[in-house]
């Protein structure tokens, strides 16, 4: 038995040319002769399947196609081939496989347009979402028993407690870098004692909170978006609504509270860890004893530096939680969307945090907390 599909052009008894297909004529074998058959420009009066040993729907479909293109008949088909050709013939369609797509020129305009509109809708949606959150808070104040303490505690743990090691290590290293790099520059002026001011003020005012916000956005903001987004895909959010649980109350508010509260504590903790890092490197490199460094911090860092950091922290926490939950709630359609929305949540949160930080810097200087 031949092991590959093959074809010959033969003359039958009536002197007409017949395309004779042979061997197994299957999905797995068809590719070897498919391109040759397509190039074949011969005029034949029929497609003969008498030598075909095996046939599947692809073979049957292809034989039909050959016959149709030349408007001739298929002859000598086995029972199985007949049956398959009938089934395939009924299933013919000219539908497109790809999703509908506009031509390039229109698509550019269309994408631009939809981006502009989406930006508009985005603003309304965000305002709407914040409104929902406010309403949710209002409802919880009126019915405090509906508040989900367990959810809050579990979020406090995952946002706050579980991130202590990584935020601690990161801040400690940042303290080391600032102290070491700062000392190198300050030494040029013989002012290495000012390293204490540098480390103390910059971490308390800016870096402690900012770096924490970035870390929390990456750790928790993304988790919020992915969790809520997946719940939307699996219709858990819809299920909640039908049971009468408000997803804002059950999912969003505990996350916002946890994020706001934990950002304050984590921001402070990060500043402290940075100062310890700076103190350690000063002890080793600059000869400023560890405890002297800490004592000097008390003298050179004004109390309002602490307030600057602590006031910014909850605002950043709110932004991270809002953008994570908002993007999660916007997920619909497919799993790809969860990924896109999660990315958006993190990028949006970090960007907004940095823009706001700039405003805060100007504001606090103007009010005399420079």
């Amino acid at each position: 038995m031949a092991t590959a599909a093959h074809y010959t052009l033969e003359e039958n008894t009536e002197g007409r040319t017949v395309l004779k297909l042979g061997g197994p004529f299957l999905l797995s074998t068809i590719s070897t002769i498919e391109s040759d058959l397509r190039k074949l420009k011969a005029d034949y009066a029929a497609v003969d399947l008498s030598d075909v040993t095996e046939i599947d729907t692809v073979g049957a479909w292809y034989a039909c196609q050959l016959a149709q293109e030349n408007s001739v008949d298929v002859i000598n088909a086995s029972d199985r081939a007949e049956r398959l050709m009938k089934a395939v013939g009924q299933s013919d369609s000219d539908a497109t496989i790809e999703a509908d797509r506009l031509p390039l020129f229109e698509r550019v305009a269309e994408t631009m347009g939809s981006k502009v509109f989406n930006a508009g809708y985005g603003v309304t949606n965000i305002v709407g979402f914040m409104g929902q959150v406010l309403v949710g808070f209002g409802a919880l104040i009126r019915h405090p028993r509906r508040f989900r303490y367990r959810a809050l505690v579990s979020q406090l743990e995952s946002v706050g407690v579980n991130s202590l090691p990584i935020i601690g290590l990161m801040s400690f290293l940042i303290g080391i870098v600032i102290a070491q790099q700062g000392a190198v520059q300050l030494q040029a002026f013989g002012a290495e004692a000012l390293t204490v001011n540098l480390v103390g003020r910059i971490t308390m005012r800016e870096l402690g909170v900012l770096m924490t916000a970035i870390m929390v956005a990456g750790r928790s903001g993304s988790a919020f978006a992915a969790q809520i987004g997946t719940m939307k895909l699996t219709e858990e959010i819809d299920a909640m609504r039908t049971i009468g649980i408000s997803p804002v109350e059950a999912l969003v508010i505990p996350r916002i509270l946890a994020c706001v509260f934990m950002m304050v504590l984590l921001g402070f903790y990060a500043s402290i860890m940075s100062i310890i890092g700076g103190a350690v490197i000063s002890d080793l490199m600059l000869g400023i004893p560890f405890w002297t460094f800490l004592a000097r911090i008390q003298e050179v860092v004004p109390t309002y530096d602490l307030w600057v950091g602590l006031i910014k922290a909850p605002v950043f926490g709110l932004i991270i939680a809002l953008s994570g939950c908002y993007q999660g709630m916007q997920v619909h359609g497919n799993s790809e969307e969860v990924g896109q929305r999660t990315t958006k949540a993190v990028v949006q949160a970090i960007f907004t945090v940095i823009v706001l930080d700039a405003f805060f810097a100007v504001f606090f200087t103007k009010v005399g907390w420079g």
Partner: protein
Amino acid sequence: MNRLVDEIFGGEKPEKHERFRGEYPVRVRGLVNSFDEQVIHDDLDLDVKRGEILGVVGGSGTGKSVLMRSIIGLQVPDAGDIEVFGQSMTDAEPDEALGVRNRWGVLFQGGALFSTLTVGENVEVPLKQFYPELDEDVMRQIARYKVVMSGLPPEATNKYPSELSGGMRKRAGLARALALDPELLFLDEPTAGLDPIGASAFDQLTRELKQTLGLTVFLITHDLDTLHEICDRVAVLADKKVIAVDTVPNLMKLDHPWIQEYFNGPRGRAALTAQALDELRKHMDKPIAAQAVKALDKSNEDKA
């Protein structure tokens, strides 16, 4: 290309286009499956005959899906041997297992379509995976007729799964399962969640496909109508084993408590009556059949 194949296979091309001619495409022997402490299957045997539709029934948690997953290699069994097309899957080399894999199609319970691809693109995935040398245009046309063959309207070809109804998604899953012209088809609860009309249409489709394509079908179901209508034999899973494999009428004669409750419970009897009525209506020309149908219809009306 051919030289490469010769080098790898020692001059012999794999005979991947031989249809299986043995009697049992699937043989399971002494299968043991357990999760932690919980034993799901204990020394389970099962044979699937070529060209039959084998229904697999059992209460919830008796391991119907686990049995299917074991056969298709998604679940590594603790012990036992599974042969598919005469090829042992439990100790198969990856290449050998792959050679079997393109000869079966699987329809998962929820359809398990790739959500970022259209229905047509979903059907193309296995084609591209196994036959990348195939002309793109040919592939596209194959996908097209498979979609229609599975009972979907042609317009559904370029829709995303999220735009389809549950029943259409099942058909799209079936189209993908049929993409490689398999000899063996695994269906996991194909009619669950479909309306009676849709379910019965799906049953007919399964039967038609089995007849035209010469498929062997392994069908997990809870649907009593499906069992009566299209299954040649039914395997009953209980007590961690296949306790019986037989035609429905023969199974109903057994006095295992679960089988009795299953087939002779109110739903079982209703399905049976419905089938009997259908059968009788085909012979309305004979007076006795006409009489029986009238009597049954009347009793139904009285009930209503």
